[in-house]
Amino acid sequence: MRSSDTERTAESPRLRFDRGTLLLDGPDGTPVRDLFGPDLWTWDGRVGAWRCDAMRYAAVRRVLKECPGRAWRNDVPEPPPVHWPAVNLPDLRPEQREALAGWRAADRRGQVIMPTGTGKTEVALAAMAETGAATLVVAPIRDLMYQWHRRILKGLGYDAGIVGDTLYNLQPVTVTTYDSAYIHMDRIGARFGLIVFDEEHHLPGQCRREAALMCTAPMRLGLTATPERSDGRHVDLEHLVGPVAYDMPLARARGRTLAEYDVVRVPVALTPQEQATYDACSRQIRHFIAERRRDRPGYSWKDLCAESGADPVARRAQKAYYLKKSIEDRAAEKLRVLEDLFRLHAGQRTIVFAGSNAMAMEVSRRFLVPTILSHTPKRERLAVLDGFAEGRLPVLVANRVLDEGVDVPEAKVAVVIGGQASTRQAKQRLGRILRRTGAARAVLYEVVCEDTKDVHRSRSRRRSDAYARTRHRRL
């Protein structure tokens, strides 16, 4: 060891990344609070150094740069610039250009709020293209993570790494989920210049926010259509991501991107056998609850769940309820209706949305059509989506991944065979899939069990009945 080295090491403060935080250690008497302000660093007596969240790296670096005459040692790795192999992005629409300009003006640290279907992903890809920064994209679910992988490959020609879904392939540009980001950020937090939070309203959760706190990336981009959270935590996004850089007026989106389509409700009956089991389960639950309510008038589904641990009768009622749901979900008649719909729309691309993985696989095995489920491997997912888009595969079965904008290739026909009616939000998302071509309108079929609805209706009629509202509570 050369003595000059030792001296310099001993004298100059050293900055480094330590498992999701920054550590600053140096000789005693370094005027840390004078230089950085009183709030940035916290003294950590356990290791004898100053510590702060990795997120503060941009601020720390700014001070270090403006601080002349001091030999700082910065051991936080500098993410290498990324060269995009083949940029092939569409021209941005005016509002997308405005969004990008707004983000740039906010020092590349801010939120872009645009309604569903107005091309948030393209804004992010353009930001990646122009900054050439090592980028981490964080998405809410696996399907969206894979979708980002695809879009980056298509738009920038870059085969991004994937961290999540049991994969750990870290690259200068990587896609991940909020859950995986939370787990791995203490290791990978110092490797990126830009971090993109897709559907950023997921970020401010108690745990997930740590993905933002533990990352050094100075450039941050949050994307969402609906930043508000019922718990009010969305105000933290300004701190975690940056200020709102662009907020697109809703009026500009209206009538342009969302297609109109018809909704057809197809009732199906349970088979006699299914109906018998279903009714028996209903009776069992009804009987059980009526019994309990004799002593405890307010007895609810929640009480039932709580009791199921210590009471086999309650547990059986709980199981009966799950069996009912499963019968609704997987009624045999649904497969027959599906066959009729396939006949009716032969030659048209059709997407089937199942209510569970089990039902999706049942449809798949009956009709020999591919599924996209959460556990579908990446390669198969790509092959299926491509085959469907090119028309080689006529049908695609997915489970309910609709609620957050997963891009599915356009289709003429969609069939929802889940147990419950689709939500308005899902219908809006479906508007992106179902496109009008020529004169024919797109159609959405909702296949629902008739008798279970009847049960529901008859219960509603007896609203005065003490039991009438339990179903609402349960759902």
Binding site: G20, F342, L368, P370, E380
Partner: protein, 409 residues
């Protein structure tokens, strides 16, 4: 390990009680455990979901068993199992082949008519013929990679029904700790092992001496100094089996409850948790053991020998010398035996000793580790195969004499 979804915790009066099967109240669980092990041991070749269903059925009439407990048992049994995996993605490839082959027959109908002439059964048989297999075989393998359809290949199992129940209790304790923000251990023995395992679990510690041979150790993670966070709960949970194997400790953890309040979990070595790890070795090497036996429990020339009772801590470096010599007049000398060695090991030891130079450390070094002609230096006792008492007592006296001199002068 279990996941958060398996955790059963009772929160009462600001305290947390993880689910724990009691030897008396749950004596009949031994029977369940035995039958569960039998289901898995006899279940080679069966699908995961069938095994889980059987386990669930076992408890159908049990008045005291929440669903989470059943699921937790299934998870622990799965943890000791190997299921068929599909690393080359054969099921995925098979699916693509079958679906692409079937595309041109779409839709497969129940009965053919003039428009649609591809009935389900015949078409599937035809596709199977093209692939050179029976359809039933293809159908069975089509989704074989899906978790619940995987088949049990082998079952490593547990040492017995009691071992499974012990494992369950420890696993629930661990799952309870996933929500922990910090943990404090008050230890009188095995401090060295506790600190070593905490370091392996990537935890930071703060050590405080609260009495003779009694230490308070707080375990947290890097960001804990900035904010309350549960992110180190998993590290704390991972550390717990090692702690359970130790003796002489009480542990207190602060947890965040699902209602965003805080609760305290208290466990000690007297709670009957059985760790899967063996208790720490009393002695790391036979050299130590021989020396301790040779010295004996009695006082010698005013010196008494204590084992691992002193912890020196400076930041994240803790030094627990093998022995402490205490003289009747209050003098204390730490004694560290270097058994096996490498240049790096010696360098690290030297660095540690430099950190704690305010203390007197006597070092025993094997002769073979000295280079030819090297001077052992001060406070070093050289030994061949066993440490002799004579040179050690001599060195101790030298230390005491010198301390006395500086004290006089």
């Amino acid at each position: 390990m279990l996941t958060r979804e398996h955790a059963i915790v009772d929160y009462r009066d600001g305290r947390a009680f993880p689910d724990c099967l009691d030897r008396r109240r749950h004596a009949h669980y031994l029977g369940y455990a035995e039958r569960m092990l039998a289901i898995y041991a006899g279940g080679i070749g069966r699908e995961r979901r069938a095994l889980h269903r059987d386990v669930e059925t076992l408890f159908a009439e049990e008045p005291d068993c929440p669903l989470r407990r059943i699921r937790a048992f299934a998870k622990l049994l799965d943890d000791a199992s190997t299921y068929t995996s599909d690393p080359k993605g054969e099921a995925s490839r098979l699916r693509l082949r079958v679906f692409e082959a079937a595309a041109r027959y779409h839709p497969l109908v129940r009965e053919k008519d003039r428009l649609f002439e591809h009935p389900e059964g015949e078409t599937k048989a035809a596709i199977a013929r093209d692939l050179g297999e029976a359809w039933d075989d293809i159908d069975a393998r089509l989704y074989a990679d899906v978790l619940s359809f995987q088949r049990l290949e082998s079952f490593e199992g547990y040492a017995g029904p009691e071992a499974l129940l012990s494992r369950y209790n420890v696993a629930q304790l661990q799952a309870c700790l996933y929500g922990a923000e910090r943990m404090t251990v008050r230890a009188t023995r095995d401090v060295k092992t506790i600190l070593r395992y905490a370091k392996l679990a990537r935890l930071l510690h703060e050590v405080r001496r609260v009495g003779p041979g009694e230490y308070l150790i707080e375990f947290t993670g890097p960001a804990s100094v900035l904010r309350q966070t549960r992110r180190y709960g998993v590290n704390l949970a991972r550390f717990v089996p090692a702690l359970l194997a130790c003796r002489g400790w009480t542990m207190t953890a602060v947890l965040r409850t699902p209602w965003k309040t805080r609760a305290v979990l208290e466990v000690s070595d007297r709670d009957r948790y059985t760790s899967a790890l063996p208790p720490p070795q009393e002695f790391d090497s036979s050299v130590e053991e021989t020396f301790a036996a040779k010295f004996g429990p009695e006082e010698r020339d005013g010196w008494r020998l204590e084992r691992e009772t002193e912890v020196l801590a400076d930041g994240q470096t803790a030094f627990v010398p093998d022995f402490v010599f205490r003289h009747a007049d209050g003098a204390t000398v730490l004694f560290e035996i270097v058994g096996f060695w490498t240049p790096e090991y010696l360098a690290k030891k030297r660095e540690t000793l430099r950190r704690f130079r305010g203390h007197t450390v006597l070092l025993a070094v094997p002769e073979r580790s000295l280079r030819d002609g090297a001077e052992p230096g001060e406070h070093v006792v050289v030994y061949k195969t066993a440490i002799q008492l004579g040179p050690v007592m001599e060195a101790l006296e030298t230390v005491r004499r010198r301390a006395g001199q500086t004290g006089d002068g």
